[in-house]
Point group: C2
Chain length 213, copies 2
């Protein structure tokens, strides 16, 4: 069965299902009803049933969901069973932190190259990966299968770097630069805008503060 | 004028408006119509008008929006004009990367303390801030005004740490731990779940790949 025509809203929620099911699995829970999952996740039970129905429905009426089965199936749908090779462009603070993260590897994400233009960073070893000169990126991509480019570069540079990498055959970007990339159709971009997140927090803190006046 | 009763959906979009207006400002653009902003941001012009109307409407019919004024007003609404003191709990890779980020400071976010339980990290200086023993956090909070706690700790530890900090008077959390925090009412949490983001990317890469078969 293929998973065609699933809305982006459902896809956006799948990693969260995956995370909660992983926690339940660790707690030794074998079955869970949509209403129990609902109260845990603070999503309505009917939304849970609807969402999971998109994938053929893993639930049995009256028995709830098999946690382990559902966890594995969602993992498969998300592509956890497939290996993804990543390169990191920008070996600054964030690039280094992501390269040192080992937990992504358990999901099949492997950082196989790190690049920078800064002579002070080139040659430095991060978690066993030596930072290469960004001018080498084209030959690297020709010689190694790269699925995803992680951009941890200043926003001014992000657009032109992404376009260059698209020309080199990269179709997926995990973008940490503080700008939205405008790339062609068929190019996948997932943005992590930390400043946007911090500003939402700032708003909440401010509006709480005001209500205590 | 107060900004009461604004939906969370609008608030979520405000940092993005702020970012685009900042880019326009840098490009020297003084005025922009909702339809121009619409094509830039890929949001409908009517949504832009509706969203900005929530804040008293900065637009003049036929003249568009004054970029600088709108940028400053949204900044004020988001609380950029207020200083927020932050502490970082967890001086690992991500904690260190966030502590080294200087761009948050321009939004009024100041990291004033970093804490860890790891003896190898305690005493280490990150961007001029010395990592303190986590057992000192209570006295630190008593003696320093702290607005936001940044959690870059393992998910197993995040819940109990957050509850402890709530008892110490912290009401806002920027949570990087791979779990949703369940805290009481009135406590503000903004989650950055990098793994969720990576899994969404993984799904997209996988489904594109499949369509090329």
């Amino acid at each position: 069965m293929e998973n065609k025509g699933i809305s982006r809203a459902v896809i956006k929620r799948l990693p969260r299902y995956y995370r909660y099911l992983g926690e339940l699995k660790e707690e030794g829970v074998e079955r869970i009803s949509s209403s129990e999952l609902s109260s845990k996740m603070k999503v309505t039970a009917s939304q849970i049933r609807q969402d999971l129905n998109n994938f053929g429905g893993f639930g049995q009426q009256g028995y709830g969901y098999n946690v382990n089965y559902l966890f594995n199936e969602i993992g498969r749908i998300l592509g956890i069973d497939k290996k993804n090779n990543m390169i990191v462009i920008g070996a600054g603070n964030m690039g280094q932190a992501l390269t040192k993260y080992t937990s992504f590897r358990s999901y099949g994400f492997d950082i196989i190259g790190v690049f920078d233009v800064n002579a002070n960073l080139i040659g430095k070893s991060i978690n066993g990966i030596v930072v290469q000169d960004y001018s080498e990126v084209a030959s690297f991509i020709r010689n190694n299968p790269v699925d995803i480019a992680v951009l941890t570069v200043p926003k001014e540079a992000a657009g032109s770097i992404a376009e260059y990498l698209v020309q080199l055959g990269i179709h997926a970007f995990w973008n940490f630069a503080y700008t939205d990339l405008r790339l062609g159709p068929g190019i996948v971009v997932e943005n992590v805008h930390l400043s946007d997140s911090l500003l939402r927090l700032s708003y909440e803190v401010k509006s709480k503060g005001a209500s205590n006046d």
